[in-house]
């Protein structure tokens, strides 16, 4: 046998086949030459978290937003309460989709314990989505709006 015992490219090709075909072993013999590739069986990841039998709807959150992926630029509720988009009924809302807001500008109110808490924009940008309706209950860490 002259030169290299093996051809790296062949082995790479075999390895690719092994993986793509989900095999665990390939063995080739020709005369006194032999190549054998082995791949450990893919380790079972933990099974998905089991679903418990729900009585009714399993997680009827006050708003089910927590289940979705949180969009970038989202402003999250710092408390539980009722969200309001305007300072009083009938008044002009603090924000609107497409409108620019400055950092620190009040974007909505959350009423908790009979107190109206001003929720301020954590960063400047444009309001691209409003995720709650005025008068709607919100929970802690619930995304309220997106400022991009």
């Amino acid at each position: 046998m002259s030169g290299m015992l093996f051809d790296p490219e062949s082995i790479r090709t075999l390895a690719t086949i092994l993986r793509e075909t989900a095999l665990t072993e390939i063995e080739l013999v020709e005369g006194d030459r032999r190549i054998r590739l082995v791949r450990a069986a893919p380790q079972a990841a933990h099974a998905a978290t089991p679903t418990l039998a729900p009585i009714a709807a399993p997680i009827v959150a006050v708003a089910a937003a927590a289940e979705e992926a949180i969009p970038a630029g989202a402003v999250m509720s710092p408390m539980v309460g009722i969200a309001y988009l305007a300072p009083e009924p009938g008044a002009t809302p603090f924000i609107a989709v497409g409108r620019a807001v400055a950092a620190g500008q009040t974007v909505l109110l959350i009423e908790a314990m009979k107190t109206f808490n001003q929720i301020k924009a954590p960063h400047a940008g444009t309001v691209t989505r409003i995720l709650i309706a005025s008068g709607e209950p919100v929970e802690y860490a619930q995304p309220l709006l997106v400022i991009e």
């Binding site: 933990h46 099974a47 998905a48 978290t49 089991p50 418990l52 729900p54 009585i55 009714a56 399993p58 997680i59 009827v60 959150a61 006050v62 927590a66 408390m79 539980v80 309460g81 009722i82 908790a112 314990m113 209950p137 919100v138 929970e139 802690y140 860490a141 619930q142």
Partner: protein
């Protein structure tokens, strides 16, 4: 009855309360921190509200957040469970101020029993036995000798301003009194700047025995017998029994009569537990817990009563509808508290539960919020399951517990299941022959 109950707790007790509400047809609101989004009490609730970040201070102890959650969901009552806000008089007041019902005693009674000195004074005035001792400070050695003659040895000389074991000396017999007196006063002066001392009977081998009571708003008070909670490690109960292997039913009846008469006079309502030290046939009141206890299931098993259901009914203004003579005690019950801790070092072991398989069959009850795939968060109490058995006699209950512990599989995290298996085989436990000091020695005897 209530329209909707908010459960201001987590873990197995939140699930316990949810179950009682569900069986009464009452919808429940679960509250939870961001660390508990996948918790069982959330997954099985009718509604849930995230009230704060993992820190208990900002979530399960966050009164405004909990009250807001109750307001936005329209709950008309709040059950506090145990721990967290369950014995917080201010929270109970706030709940009532918001027009909701606090499922527990009045704020005044919570406050009274929260002040350990006031609680003892109240109990003394109601005829409930305390630890025998001097009435207040002992001024000189002669007076100390007079007290000692009255209450007997061993006794404790304790700094009135004391705490944490300082300014506290034991006199085993009369010839040790003078030294104990002198040293305790010196320590008290040095440590607290006040050499006032008092004298108490020293209980060297007491059991911890507590009495479960339930009172309605119409003057009915019953007790559901005692629990023996002497198996403790660092003041944490590990295993409880109903009834106590040490108590006669005559002792139970006579203590029960004093306590229920006292609480009736006090106008107490809802569930409560009076804790006693018990030695040589004598009870000494320690404190009263104005809430549901972790170990309430052993009482439920022997009395055939649903204590959480009774709490809900009583809080809704319903009458108990039965009297002391209707309460019957059947068989024996044992509870093992299973914690996510190393069974030898007691280091907490939060993490993912890979396997959870609860024991089943006759006389076996499991109260747990675990499930396979659940991740025990590192932020809260390490208790993850209560295994309770009931059988006609104590030996049969021990045999059943041994069998059930053998079937219980929790894998992925270490738990105290192996320790409980060892306890079931310990001759002192099997004989019922233990005090509050036994477990500590047993654990360190590995």
């Amino acid at each position: 009855m209530f329209q909707k109950v908010l459960i201001a707790n987590r873990g197995e007790i939140a699930l316990r309360i949810q179950r009682a509400c569900r069986e009464l047809g009452i919808p429940t609101v679960a509250v939870h921190s961001t660390a508990d989004t996948d918790a069982m009490h959330v997954r099985l609730a009718d509604e849930s509200v995230c009230i704060g970040p993992p820190s208990a201070r900002e979530s399960y102890l966050n009164m405004p957040a909990i009250l807001s959650a109750a307001a936005v969901t329209g709950a008309d009552a709040i059950h506090p469970g145990y721990g967290f806000l369950s014995e917080n008089a201010k929270f109970a007041e706030m709940v009532e101020a918001h027009g909701m019902t606090f499922i527990g005693p009045s704020p005044a009674h919570i406050r009274m029993m929260g002040d350990k000195i006031a609680a003892k004074a109240a109990m003394a005035s109601l005829g409930v036995p305390l630890v025998p001792g001097s009435d207040g400070a002992v001024l000189d050695l002669d007076q100390a000798r007079a007290v000692a003659d009255r209450i007997g040895y061993p006794l404790l000389v304790k700094a009135a301003a004391g705490g944490g074991g300082r300014g506290m000396k034991v006199a085993q017999a009369a010839d040790e009194l003078e030294e104990a007196w002198t040293v305790a006063r010196t320590e008290a002066r040095t440590a607290f700047g006040d050499d006032a001392v008092y004298i108490e009977k020293y209980l060297d081998r007491p059991r911890h025995i507590e009495l479960q009571v339930m009172a309605d708003a119409h003057g009915s008070v019953v007790h559901f017998g005692e629990r023996d909670c002497s198996l403790q490690r660092r003041h944490q109960k590990l295993l409880e029994e109903a009834g106590s292997p040490a108590l006669t039913s005559a002792e139970r009846d006579s203590l029960g009569a004093v306590v229920t008469a006292g609480l009736r006079k006090l106008g107490y309502r809802n569930a409560g537990t009076l804790e006693f030290l018990y030695q040589d046939g004598q009870f000494a009141f320690i404190e009263m817990n104005t809430r549901l206890q972790v170990e309430h299931p052993v009482t439920e098993m022997v009395c055939g009563v649903d204590l959480v259901r009774e709490q809900l009914r009583v809080a809704a203004g319903q009458a108990l509808g039965y009297e002391q003579s209707d309460v019957e005690f059947r068989g024996h019950a044992i509870e093992c508290r299973v914690t996510a801790e190393d069974p030898e070092t007691f280091m907490p072991t939060p993490g993912r539960v890979d396997v959870f398989h609860a024991p089943g069959g006759l006389g076996v009850r499991v109260d747990s919020a675990l499930y396979a795939g659940y991740v025990v968060p590192p932020y809260y109490d390490s208790m993850v399951a209560k295994l309770i058995v009931h059988a006609p006699t104590r030996p049969e209950a021990i045999a059943r517990m041994r069998r059930a512990l053998g079937e219980f599989a929790i894998q992925g995290i270490k738990t105290t299941l192996p320790l409980h298996r060892r306890i079931m085989d310990a001759p002192e436990f099997v004989a019922g022959d233990y005090t509050i000091h036994w477990l500590e020695r047993f654990v360190s005897s590995v």
